[in-house]
């Protein structure tokens, strides 16, 4: 009876808090006051979970065994939900400031105030997302302390000192964020100082994420900690483990990608709801910038992932095999599909831009057709599994589990080759778009058009040659020589061609780009890209966690709970999809709240902050 009353009270309190939070927001404008609403939602969810029947077995409070459990979803799944939501929001609040700061910097350098407005609009999203991230982090921490006391005790023994650093950085980041956001207008004539604050915000954000990364990577690749170390030395020794820096770099780039594509999705959603041509033009341009920054991060991301995987193999080959060749090997087929769709979606958006925004779009048709063919072929090779799902009869018919032709595409040499080719094609798409409305005026204009094409083609040919040669050399040569040379060639080509094109574009004549003409499907492509990135983050987080198999800290602290197993991919995908959907609901809410006119806007006149740019005033990029 008491439990029922408590549940009712929680439900009512949750609903009241949601309602009051929204009302307060509507009354006063939204600046980081999303916490009451989210707190209410949390209470509501807890109350709902208490009402629902248990299917996770008996609740337990067996602190003696090092674990506690809860009914319904079970402790592990609750931690999974909280951790993934926290990480996604964490990625958002780390990626968006980078995006905003770069936009602001471009605005200051180019003297175009529209970039500044764009940066401010996204920083407005940031304030709401920041408190949600902190709230989710607190929920995650409470869950971990409650459900996994022994594990948290072991982790605290090692990382006790880092908690002080984390808290200090968090305070610094909070102060910097508030100064950055609230001082935007005040420092409009002191942009150097404001940019410095933005830089500090990003530095603190990066430092926070690398502290958290040290905890996560220590779980996967713990190092021996000699006895007698001080707390600080112990923390540093544990943090400086083999996968720490590869993950730091991988997550930094991935956060830029997430920030870019989420901003693209935001622009896409606003584009769909735009009432006037000016609004459509504004959000079309914003979508282009988001997609561009997403792609910009996406190109080097596979290389960072390759480095991380190589370090995992170096640390423990068995873990590497579990990841790439063991029960998680099929996960990489899913990853290939997601990345393939992401590449296709991003390129598709560029191609739509070429077709609808530029003059003489017909001339690009043949190139686009070629790009589609290459991308689809690469996509096909990337998602070809190493061993086939086949019945006994089918296996006999093809002469084993490896298809005589397709089996060749299942190995790493082929995967590396096609991923590099997809990067080159995407870069070529971007290059085509970049130059679409410009006519070079330099004396060597013809060479400026031909040389990039030749360089990209040569790089592609080398990548293919190295990929084929990789079949005839020992794995060690393929991993340390050929793959590295493929990556080096592609990165080198990207940098060289970009510099070359930038120089050739100096003083170029520009024709009009028609912003706001994109079809509705372009907005959906932007949303699709964002979903692919979110799913990828969830999928690879599952891979990193599952590669530890039944260890909390690999080889050091064993998971002896009833959840010491990694679920099959179907079950894991259900969790990932559910969490992604919840994240989308949260983000939609934040987008909606951010789209409401604030008190200041009302005074200054409609659209002072989010006032759309007129089509004729829009910059080319």
């Amino acid at each position: 009876m008491n439990a029922t009353r408590t549940t009712e009270r929680l439900l009512l309190r949750g609903l009241r808090a949601v309602r009051s939070g929204i009302r307060a927001r509507l009354r006063r404008g939204m600046n980081g006051r999303v916490v009451p609403s989210l707190f209410g939602l949390f209470c509501f969810m807890i109350a709902c979970q208490a009402c629902l029947p248990s299917f996770a077995g008996e609740s337990a409070s067996a602190a003696g065994s090092g674990y506690r459990d809860v009914a319904w979803l079970g402790s592990r799944n609750w931690v999974w939900i909280a951790a993934q939501l926290h990480l996604l929001f964490g990625g958002f609040v780390l990626g968006v400031p980078i995006f905003a700061w770069v936009c602001e910097l471009i605005g200051v350098r180019s003297g175009d105030p529209r970039y500044d407005k764009l940066a401010k609009e996204f920083t407005k999203l940031l304030t709401a997302a920041y408190s949600t991230t902190a709230l989710l982090g607190a929920i995650l921490l409470f869950m971990l302390i409650g459900f996994y006391p022994t594990f948290m005790n072991a982790l605290s023994d090692v990382f006790y000192a880092s908690y002080f650093i984390y808290v200090g950085l968090f305070l610094l980041e909070t102060v910097t964020l508030y100064l950055y956001w609230y001082g935007w207008d005040m420092m409009s004539d002191r942009k150097g100082l404001h940019l410095f604050l933005g830089l500090l915000l990003n530095v603190f954000g990066f430092l926070i994420v690398i502290v958290a990364n040290s905890w996560a990577t220590y779980q996967n690749s713990p190092v021996v900690l000699p006895a007698g170390l001080s707390a600080w030395a112990r923390t540093w020794a544990a943090a400086h483990n083999p996968t720490w820096w590869p993950l730091n770099i991988h997550r930094l780039i991935a956060n830029v990608v997430l920030g870019g594509f989420l901003c693209g999705a935001y622009a896409g959603i606003r584009y769909l709801g735009a009432k006037t041509h000016e609004e459509r033009a504004h959000y079309d341009w914003m979508g282009y910038i988001g997609n561009f920054i997403g792609i910009f991060g996406l190109l080097p991301l596979p290389f960072a992932g390759y480095w991380l995987t190589m370090e995992i193999y170096r640390y423990n080959q068995q873990m590497g095999i579990t990841l790439m060749g063991g029960f998680l090997s099929w996960l990489f087929i899913l990853q290939a599909v997601l990345i393939g769709v992401l590449f296709l979606g991003s390129n598709y958006y560029f191609w739509l831009g070429l077709a609808h925004r530029t003059e003489e779009s017909q001339k690009y048709k043949k190139y686009i057709l070629g790009f589609i063919v290459i991308l689809l072929m690469c996509f096909g090779v990337w998602m070809t599994p190493h061993s086939m799902v086949a019945s006994l009869q089918e296996s006999r018919a093809i002469g084993g589990t490896h298809h005589p032709l397709l089996g060749v595409f299942g190995v790493m040499s082929a995967k590396m080759t096609v991923s590099n080719l997809m990067i080159l094609v995407t870069f070529a798409s971007f290059l085509m778009y970049w130059r679409a409305n410009k006519i070079e005026t330099v004396r060597w204009a013809r060479a400026a058009r031909v040389v990039p094409f030749v360089l990209i083609s040569l790089a592609g040919l080398y990548v293919i040659w190295a990929g084929i040669y990789g079949y005839f050399v020992p794995a060690i040569v393929r991993i340390y020589v050929l793959s590295v040379s493929q990556v080096g060639t592609v990165i080198g080509t990207l940098i060289l061609v970009s510099v070359l094109v930038m120089i050739s574009m100096r003083g170029a004549k520009e024709t009009t780009l028609h912003w706001g003409r994109m079809p509705m499907r372009a907005a959906y492509a932007l949303v699709l890209n964002a979903i692919m990135v979110i799913l990828l983050m969830g999928l690879m987080g599952y891979a990193r966690s599952a590669s530890r198999t039944h260890w909390h800290i690999y080889g050091v602290l064993e998971d002896t709970s009833p959840y010491a197993f990694s679920p099959a991919l179907g079950d894991a995908a259900l969790m990932m999809c559910s969490i992604t959907f919840i994240f989308c609901l949260f983000v939609s809410f934040i987008f909606w709240v951010a789209s409401l006119p604030s008190h200041a806007d009302g005074k200054a006149g409609k659209g002072s902050l989010t006032r759309p740019m007129t089509a004729e005033k829009l910059p080319a990029h």
Binding site: I269, L272, G273, Y313, R314, N316, Q317, Q318, I321, T322, G325, G326, F327, L328, W330, I333, L334, V337, L338, H386, S387, V389, H402, G407, V473, P474, A475, I476, V477, Y524, V527, L528, I531, A546, T549, H550, W551, Y554, G555, V556, D559, A564, F565, S566, P567, A568, L569, G570, D571, A572, A573, L574, M576, C577, T580, F581, C584, L585, S588, W592
Partner: protein
């Protein structure tokens, strides 16, 4: 709001497609390894030893993740077919416990470079085979074309030390309190007749079934059904005292792994 709903439906459809695809590929959960304790007492012959080693090779030891027995397309580590005839027992031991001690040269590179093994140390976490399990794996690898030189009797060195549950001093007090010595003057010779702890305990608590000597004056042992008359702790203490009086028959179980080679 209408656009938000459209987008949410679009997102839901994408997520459902992803879930459908993820559910359509082979499903395999990663379960924690079953905690199987190797019982050296159950291994009587070399064939038993090899069978246990094979099970470990393909199971807990995870050797088959990389090594194959016979040529295979997916091999990531040396093919072990016939290695029993080529490698000594000491070398196999060293290769599993110190994989990088003997450094091969990679002759495909020019000039040849050291080519250290990346194999995990199998008697350390996460694989963490025990000494007896390691011997069984060595026996299995030896059986691949060679002669098995590991003897089942060597596993005795890895038998767990006897667990003494009670307190012998407290047991002596129980012994005196029950006045056992009034009848059992030649205690050492009586105790020597019982070859195991279990039979001795049974003789104390149920002497009618397993008695090794004469009964009491009335032909019935006076400590009949001691399991009902004594507390569990008193009985454990008494047993600990009596076991201490038994003539020593078992050697101290000190794990002694096979000697490793000095390596290159």
């Amino acid at each position: 709001m209408k656009n938000y709903l459209k987008i949410l439906v679009f997102v839901a459809v994408i997520l459902w497609l992803f879930y459908y695809m993820a559910s359509s590929i082979p499903q395999q959960a990663s379960l924690p390894p079953v905690k199987e304790q190797l019982d050296p007492a159950q291994i009587k012959t070399k064939a038993d030893l090899v069978n246990v080693g094979r099970k470990l090779f393909f199971g807990k030891g995870q050797c088959a993740l990389c090594h194959t027995i016979g040529p295979s397309h997916g091999a990531r580590a040396p093919n072990l077919e016939g290695v029993g005839a080529k490698l000594s027992r000491e070398f196999i031991y060293e290769s599993t416990t110190q994989p990088s001690k003997y450094i091969y040269m990679d002759y495909t590179a020019s000039p040849p470079k050291p080519f250290p093994a990346q194999m995990p140390i199998i008697n350390k976490p996460p694989v963490d085979l025990s000494g007896a399990e390691l011997l069984a794996v060595i026996a299995f690898v030896q059986s691949l074309g060679g002669e098995v030189t590991v003897e089942p009797s060597e596993l005795a060195a890895f038998l767990p030390p006897p667990v003494v549950k009670g307190d012998p001093d407290a047991g002596r007090l129980v012994f005196n309190k029950l006045e056992c010595a009034r009848c059992h003057q030649q205690l050492a010779s009586i105790l020597g007749k019982y070859t195991s702890k279990e039979s001795l305990r049974a003789a104390v608590v149920r002497p009618a079934g397993v008695t090794a000597g004469a009964g009491g004056k009335e032909g019935k042992p006076p400590h009949f059904e001691f399991d009902r008359k004594l507390s569990v702790k008193d009985l454990d203490d008494l047993m600990a005292y009596l076991e201490g009086l038994q003539p020593a028959t078992k050697p101290a179980a000190t794990p002694a792994p096979p000697k490793g080679a000095t390596g290159a």
